[in-house]
């Protein structure tokens, strides 16, 4: 999209006005400062997804649109999660869990760990679900970003 004020609200406004769901949405500038990349996850029948695609393409600020699920692609989401560590045992257990999920502990206090984890949405869900006893203090997820596999690229 054009990296312009209001571009994001046009996309968000379109989804609410037409009753479509936004499951997640991420947006940030690209290597070209005049362009932003927005990745949005939504759910719907083929007809609804087709209509969403057409409506998004109509927005003047949308430069190019690609449905990543039409081909092989990679999805990633980043999460930071803060958990309470009450005892040495629980600290050990959490450390093991983080290693299994290939996460990193990025901040430590006497009573908490902050963990960084990247992967597909399901992996992050699984990680959260694995804390059955440890209290989660805070979770922040970036929303899904994605890119197609192979040399094909979304570029103008």
């Amino acid at each position: 999209m054009e990296n312009e004020a209001g571009a994001l609200s046009r996309v968000a406004g379109l989804f609410s006005a037409r009753g479509y769901n936004i499951e997640s949405l991420t947006v940030a500038p690209t290597e070209d400062a005049t362009l932003s990349r927005l990745t949005l996850v939504t759910r719907g029948s083929d007809e609804i997804v087709e209509q969403i695609t057409k409506q998004l393409n109509k927005l003047i600020d949308v430069v190019k649109l690609m449905d990543l699920t039409e081909g092989p692609h990679i999805e990633r989401e980043m999460m930071m999660i803060k958990v309470k560590t009450s005892s040495n045992d629980s600290r050990e257990e959490i450390k093991r869990l983080v290693d299994i999920f290939r996460g990193r502990i990025i901040d430590v206090t006497a009573t908490s760990y902050t963990i960084e984890l990247t992967g597909k949405g399901e992996k992050l869900d699984a990680f959260i679900n694995s804390f059955d006893k440890t209290p989660i203090l805070e979770t922040v997820r970036s929303g899904v970003s994605g890119i197609s596999r192979g040399s094909k690229s979304l570029h103008i």
Partner: protein, 597 residues
């Protein structure tokens, strides 16, 4: 009779002449190195863009712009009495000419008042550029006096909108606004200009063209799809054309008539499409949909091919979507891909400008050596004529009370079907669509999508300004007319001899009709109490008012109305309050399940 406004007009004319001389002396020379203020850039740009009329209303945030307008005489400003009317007038101008309508309003309430007119234009894809004043950039977000987030408020009802934060971007933004508004599927564009931007200076050179990397509307249809479509037409036994506002917006009437005559199929129009195909042509079967003709709705329910052109399968057209056109394959031509397969799944989508695609279809049919299937068409037309013989628009005349259908039939006869007709919304709108048989495009001006009461009179102002010599009738009701009646004052100021044909039945007729049918005649708040004396009201505004109460006087009164060529006439016709619009497809029913009279 009111006092003649002639003396006043003469006085104004003289003053205007003197003023314009003074203004010309002050008008800065073009193409020189002088930097212009944002306000001057705007007036210069509008002139260079070919804008004749600017419909507007002044206020604090646009004072610099109004001052620049005062110092030039190229763009004519039309002062209205309410900003909603400015947008409808610009809309009427656009619909009747094909050129974009241009509006100027102030910040805050000026912008919010304009929203209804912007949404009206958006729903019917009318090219319009609306300039809204804004508080100075330093105050944006401070809840300043007359501040409103105009870009935010209008976002869902514009094709695009802009906030200009730097005077250096003003010219290119204005060019983009006109480009976006008038190309592709047209629509309204808002340009919000803070007051300080209109005071700061910049160089001005009129840009002849503009490029936008994210906006490239498709015009030409895909040749493969066009070939598929012509094959489908050739193999159809019961084809039918269903055409809408797109034919009028793209000036495609000529191509439509040519292809319809070549194929020999019946043609139906949506309410927005009336006049796109001549109503007097034998192949025309009338409007379709909720208040469409029996023959149009039966034909679309029984045809085996719909050739949909510049129409969008709106819910008022299709009735119950499950029951819509069960036997038909569908070819759909539209410039907006999102209109295709939105409500009804189509077999051959063709994205492109209607005129260009129709011409391509004609060329392809000729190349294919297309010959209509005469035997099949003969059977098809035999069936259609049977439906047509029901004469579903026949109405009973009465010697005591005026039937609204009779009044509009008479209007058609007196004006020889050659008037521009604007309408408001409700029963009178449907009767006008049914009984004023439009033969030419851009003659029927109504709010089809949004259904905006109060549209008719201001829209007629825009039409009359664009066509000063033409007969312009505003068909309205006593409910709708009161939603923008203040514009009678603007009509006097700008000498607009509009003929207001008010079908006065003392009811919000369409609401009353639904209450009668579906709410056991509980007429909740649909009765118009304490109506003004419209004759006196018209006179108070300096116009002519005529009231007619007997069927025998209708023709003479309408003739008298149109004889007063230079005057606005308010013709108050007291009509039968119990009359309903027929045929009618009730909500949830299929088109072939209509209620006839």
């Amino acid at each position: 009779m009111p006092k003649s406004p002639d003396s006043r007009a003469f006085f104004l004319g003289a003053t205007n002449g003197a003023l314009s001389m003074i203004r010309q002396l002050h008008y800065k020379k073009r193409d020189c190195d002088v930097k212009l203020t944002g306000a001057e850039i705007l007036t210069h740009f509008l002139h260079d863009e070919g804008v004749e009329f600017l419909f507007g209303y002044p206020g604090g945030a646009v004072l610099h712009i109004y001052d620049a307008l005062h110092r030039q005489d190229k763009v004519k400003h039309i002062l209205v009495r309410h900003e909603q009317a400015a947008t409808h007038a610009a809309d009427g101008y656009a619909r009747s000419t094909g050129k974009p309508g241009v509006v100027l309003v102030t910040s805050g309430p000026g912008a919010t008042n304009a929203v209804t007119g912007i949404a009206t234009a958006y729903m019917d894809s009318i090219p319009m550029v609306v300039i809204t004043g804004q508080v100075p950039t330093s105050l944006i977000g401070n809840d300043a006096f007359q501040e409103v987030d105009s870009v935010g408020i209008t976002r869902p009802c514009v094709k695009h909108n802009f906030l200009v934060k730097d005077v250096k971007d003003l010219t290119s933004t204005l060019k983009k606004a006109f480009y976006v508004a008038t190309t592709g599927r047209p629509g309204p564009v808002v340009v919000d200009i803070p007051k300080d931007v209109t005071a700061e200076t910049a160089d001005y050179i009129y840009p002849k063209t503009i490029e936008m990397r994210s906006y490239n509307p498709v015009v030409k249809g895909h040749s493969g799809q066009i070939k598929k479509a012509t094959k489908m037409i050739a193999s159809s036994k019961r084809p039918m054309f269903y055409t809408g506002g797109g034919v009028i917006l793209d000036d495609a009437s000529k191509a439509l008539i040519e292809i319809a005559h070549m194929v020999g199929a019946p043609v139906t129009n949506t309410s927005m499409g009336l006049g796109g195909y001549p109503a007097s042509d034998k192949q025309f079967v009338g409007m379709l949909g909720m208040h469409g003709t029996y023959e149009a709705n039966m034909a679309i329910s029984n045809c085996d091919l719909i050739i949909a052109i510049g129409a969008r399968f709106d819910d008022r057209v299709t009735g119950n979507i499950e029951k819509f056109a069960p036997y038909a394959k569908i070819i759909h031509v539209d410039i907006d891909p999102s209109s295709i397969s939105k409500n009804v799944k189509v077999d051959v989508p063709i994205v492109g400008g209607v005129n260009s695609v129709l011409k391509a279809l004609l060329k392809q049919l000729k190349e294919d050596g297309y010959k209509p299937n005469k035997a099949a068409l003969k059977d098809w037309w035999k069936q259609i004529e049977e439906w047509r013989s029901k004469d579903c628009l026949a109405y009973k005349t009465d010697t005591k009370i005026i039937k609204p259908q009779f009044a509009l039939d008479t209007l058609y006869k007196v004006t020889k079907g050659d008037a521009f007709v604007t309408s408001d919304v409700g029963q009178h709108q449907m009767w006008a669509a049914q009984y004023y048989r439009f033969d030419k495009p851009r003659r029927w001006i109504n709010s089809g999508g949004l259904g905006t009461m109060g549209f008719g009179l201001p829209a007629a102002m825009g039409v009359q300004l664009a066509h000063p010599k033409a007969q312009v009738a505003c068909v309205t009701g006593e409910g709708s007319i009161q939603m923008n009646i203040q514009e009678l004052s603007s009509c006097l100021q700008h000498n607009l001899p509009i003929k207001i044909i008010c079908l006065n039945n003392g009811f919000l007729g369409m609401v009353r009709q639904w209450q009668e049918f579906f709410y056991d005649s509980r007429f909740s708040h649909s009765y118009m109490e304490s109506l003004p004396d419209f004759v006196k009201l018209a006179e108070a505004y300096g116009h002519v008012g005529i009231q007619v109460t007997k069927p025998g006087d209708v023709e003479a009164a309408i003739k008298e109305t149109f004889k007063l060529k230079d005057r606005l006439v308010f013709l108050d016709i007291l009509t039968d309050p119990t009359e309903n619009v027929y045929p009618m497809v009730p909500a949830g029913a299929g088109l072939d399940e209509m209620i006839l009279i």
